[in-house]
Amino acid sequence: MSEAVLLIGTKKGLWIGRSDAARTEWRLDGPVPEFEMQGVYAVGIDTRGDRPRLFVGGTSEHWGPAVFHSDDLGATWAEPPEGSIGFPEGSDASLERVWQIQAAPAGQPGVVYAGTQPSALWKSTDGGVTFDLVRGLWDHPHRKEWGAGFGGQAVHTVLPHPTDADRVSVAMSTGGVYRTADGGATWEPANQGIQAKFFPDPYPEFGQCVHKLAGHPDVPERMFAQNHHGVYRSDDGGTIWKSIADGLPSDFGFPIVVHPHEPETVYVFPLIADGNRIPTGARCRVYRSRDAGSTWEPLSAGLPDVSYVPVLRDAMTTDTADPAGVYVGTRDGCVYASADAGDSWVEVARHLPDVLTVRAAVIG
């Protein structure tokens, strides 16, 4: 019997939605005691193994950050005694927050990546229990010039190449997109065409504020980016980026995700502008493109007609079921789920703390 699990990380803890495979009626568990009062910025679900492994990266204002995992769908949680992620002694840095926990593709069993604040990439080869600093990115000569956006200075997105284990792209705010083709030893910025309106030169080599990066495993060279103003697509692995924002009511927003089975289908959540971060038209609307960004349509069935709150960069996701599930969480603590690729939505949660991240999977 299949079941669906939905991890909801908020500014004040973790909630878990559970449903059957239909994903239309949800039960909500939480707040999960282990993460009470923690800012849960990263959650992950690794479905590659015999049983799914859940991840939670939480930060207590008092007691610091930690990454926990669960092999029983959230009934119990564990961390290694010395912690999962820590900067090496003498590196003059300490972990502030984990922003992303991303399992590698199926061909790389045991490999899990993490992105953190301060901006660093981490790689685990033991299934996400312990992580090592990816030195090539940490030692990059650009690092001292990467800045902090409003949310902090972090690697917030990790996008492993679907088949080539040596290739990984990351996005950081600020800094932009960087990519490696040699397993993390060397990294190059990949921001050509992405605008940075906050610099005198609006097209710098790096320094962009890319809010989120997404791709589809069937089209490895294509990537989508929601920027701090600007929605872009690259068809050559990030070498050149071109705007796909023309059909949107605004090019500002935080998340971008790709349909699990349709590489041309993309979702964003437009906000009016940097200086006015409410949904366009003051309506809660996910926008969907079915032609890789040429045209867009608002999705509204089941979403509120009045809303003044954003969806943050990691608070939109899909599952891999068929039909595809799409999930969004808002800053006023609501979570909406669609079991039909966005055509219609049901409310999973309301009045939670600000939703920071969501991940979902249909299991079994």
Binding site: M37, S60, E61, H62, W63, G64, A66, E79, P81, E82, G83, G86, F87, E89, G90, S91, D92, A93, S94, L95
Partner: protein
Amino acid sequence: MIAVRLPTVLRPFAGGAERVEVEGTTVAEAFAALEPPLRRRLTDEQGAVRRHVNIYLRDDNIRDLDGLDTPLTDGDELLILPSVAGG
């Protein structure tokens, strides 16, 4: 022995205990003797006391003494308190 008294929220990292006893002639030595999951919540991976953690020796915050180098003598008690922070 040095006693370390814990707020409720940290007791799960000490097997539920309200206080733990360790050896040490400074705060740093005492902390080094704590179980790692508890120690990591008081200090970061570079050994610095976390910003919103307050550690009292009698009535003094160790920040007003010699920090982690504050000397301890047998029978001393360290009180861990979270500062007022957040919203």
